[in-house]
Amino acid sequence: MTGGPASTGESARGQTSAVPAIRMEGIDKSFGAIRANRGTSVEVMPGEIHALVGENGAGKSTLMRILGGLMKPDAGHVEVNGRDVTGWSTNEAIAAGIGIVHQHFMLVPTLTVAENLVLGCEPKTRGIVLDYKRAAEDVRKLSTETGLVIAPDRLISDLSVGEAQRVEILKVLFRGARILVLDEPTAVLSPPEVRELWTVLRRLRDKGDTIVLITHRLDEVVEISNTITVMRAGQTVARVKTSETTPAEIARLMVGREVSLSAGKRVQPSGRPAGPQPDQGLEARNLIVVGSRGIRVIDDVSFSVKPGEILGIAGVEGNGQTELIEALAGLRPVFAGDILIDGVDMTRRSVAQRHDAGLSHIPEDRQRRGLILEYTVANNLILGVQKYFSRRGIIDRTRVMENAIQEISSFDIRPPNPVLAARALSGGNQQKIIVAREMGREFSVLLASQPTRGVDVGAIEFIHQQLLDARAQGKAILLVSAELNEVLALSDRVAVMYRGKFAVMMPAAEASEEVLGEYMIGTKKGNAA
């Protein structure tokens, strides 16, 4: 398989069958006041890789949940291989060969690979006993057939993310799926794992399976798909052949306007505001953090981020990035080493003290750490700084609202309603609340952890610009992101975390996906600066 958009195997499919594998027409689906799908239509031909793209909240996942029988549409109809299956159940969908690989792994961590695979269709002996031996044997056989190698007896909780995804794909194939839907499959994978996934998907397609790929990464769409359906705000806006379009065109269709794809260009490649104090910014010295099982999750890491600089940290998730950020923010105790903010030792200081010293933090999990979803936008905007909005212990509502109105307009939070619960906003707008709170105040150091995760293209562009502006204003920024191209585009220097250490640190100008990719999976080890 050579891959690439030029060799998508046009001749191999298409003309052979006129009946679409999936045809969904006029689908309506509402959740309360939110209309996830509005007359959405999708048509997928058998034997193709079909990309379903759209911003977050465009209704892609809802559409596929309807296809998989997890939800019933309010209106419209669904056909699979020419048969009307509207409103069917999960079991009927599985029986008809639909397999959905969910964005969040649908695997039971305490069970083995084989147990997860046979769950719901268990082989039995003597009527009631689970035939585990046969389950393991079947898994081994399927594993060899498909090239998705995995030992059946391993516990899911012991697997890497890439391996877990292999199990997910095996799971749907095990149930005889011929139509595979993958929801954001690459979100947590390293570049080599992504390449491996593409190989598997191409092999399945060439075998005649139909694949629907939900993604918002345009480079992936162009690389792997045959046909693209673009969704925006619950509606289908275009269906195009991949060979006849460009990433810029798709982005325009997704957002409804022109977007700059390359994460903004450097304002001044290595420029810094004149004469920062040498000890300003963020510094970590020989930092050691011990995890829950007594392992050093951060193992003797030292670095500094100067004012006017973005230090980007790349790496496969779970290599200590989360713990590093939490330790710096004061959310996790440090075993040894020092943390300095603007030259002041903050190692033993509380979150609030660090915050007052000028440390802002955009947490990786906005719903868990960043927001209180039931609170209004206005109240979320003063979380952690509420003491500045109160007088003698009583919150001054007028000032809270004034602040909210101002932040909503300067950070373009939509809908612009300060009394709406944060839960009601889209992921991108929820993230903007956090960005507004953390960056709309005086600060000198910013920890930005996965700042654009699960955020739509328009909001990504906006957040990137905020980061670059802050850098130009002389803020020291530590950026952690699973998106390699984000790290590369924004950072002055990049480091790769691998097993709690910096595997390498280099100027961003010298780094590339290929170079960093090798450090990310540990095939190449180097000395961190």
Partner: protein, 289 residues
């Protein structure tokens, strides 16, 4: 102290715990908090006495007891699964309801506020040859059977999946609702058998006769880290402590209150992670959106 009499007394004390804890394990592994065991036991005890009293046969009493536990467990299941109510709150309510309902019917059927008349039983005779109470034997094998069900059958696999990651189970067509209903119903019937044993062993029902045994059973579930065999061993340990207390009575070697504390103290120690980490099923007590 005679070791044989110690052992037989310990087993007789342990049987209600073994039934209730086995029920607790299956419900909790499916993700439903089992604070209700006490209420299930009490309702089972009363229904058994009622059935035995009117039929004269303890076997009819056993069936009635199972039915009583089943009814209460279904109330619990409907409230927590169908209506997604908080499992702890409903659990407390079920226990209070069981106390009230049994007291009410005690008055209604037996015109007493303290106890029922004497009913037939299986006879609690214990000799070297063994026990002549079939419920005793059942109580001894219930935990191994539960272990087999949970680890070796498709239903058990589903129970474990549903309690850890219900979305994953649902996505492969396993009905989380159905598995949980069945698991709670089983827990109701098993816990009720614990109550049935207790009532028939004493040949009568007395008001609030379970006296916290359901809570000791739930302690055993937690102390046993949600594993049927380990939970059963915890039951035996707690029963041994109680036996010791009874046999030491009169000697005043240790104040009995200290021995009564043992199950709860051990549970707190277990939860604090002193003896290995106690990791509950991930979806335990969670109300799904």
């Amino acid at each position: 102290m005679n070791p044989i009499s110690f052992l037989t007394q310990m087993i007789r004390i342990a049987v209600p715990y073994l039934f209730a804890a086995s029920g607790g394990v299956v419900a909790e592994r499916a993700g439903i908090v089992s604070l209700t065991l006490e209420g299930f036991m009490l309702s089972g005890a009363f229904a058994a006495v009622l059935g035995t009293n009117y039929s004269g046969s303890p076997w009819v009493g056993v069936l009635c007891g199972i039915l009583g536990g089943l009814i209460f467990s279904l109330i619990h299941a409907v409230a927590t699964i169908r209506y997604r109510a908080d499992q702890v709150v409903v659990g407390v309510a079920i226990n209070l309801l069981a106390i009230g309902v049994t007291r009410f019917f005690l008055k209604l059927f037996f015109a007493s506020s303290s106890n029922s008349p004497r009913v037939a039983g299986f006879g609690g005779n214990i000799n070297v040859a063994g026990f002549d109470n079939p419920l005793l034997w059942l109580g001894i094998i219930v935990a191994p059977v539960m272990a087999f069900v949970i680890y070796k059958t498709p239903f058990g696999l589903r129970v474990r999946a549903v309690g850890e990651h219900p979305d994953a189970a649902e996505s492969v067509g396993v009905s989380v609702t159905r598995v949980r209903y069945v698991a709670v119903a089983i827990s109701g019937m098993l816990a009720a058998l614990g109550g049935v044993y207790l009532a028939l062993d004493q040949h009568q029902f007395t008001d609030q006769m379970t006296a916290g045994r359901g809570f000791i059973a739930i302690s055993a579930v937690i102390f046993g880290r949600w594993d049927p065999i380990r939970a059963a061993l915890a039951c035996l340990l707690f029963a041994a402590a109680e036996t010791l207390q009874i046999q030491l009575q009169g000697s005043h070697a240790i104040p009995s209150q200290f021995i009564e504390m043992i199950p709860y103290a051990l549970t707190i120690i277990a939860l604090a992670g002193v003896v290995g980490r106690a990791v509950p099923p991930a979806a335990l007590g969670k109300v799904e959106d």
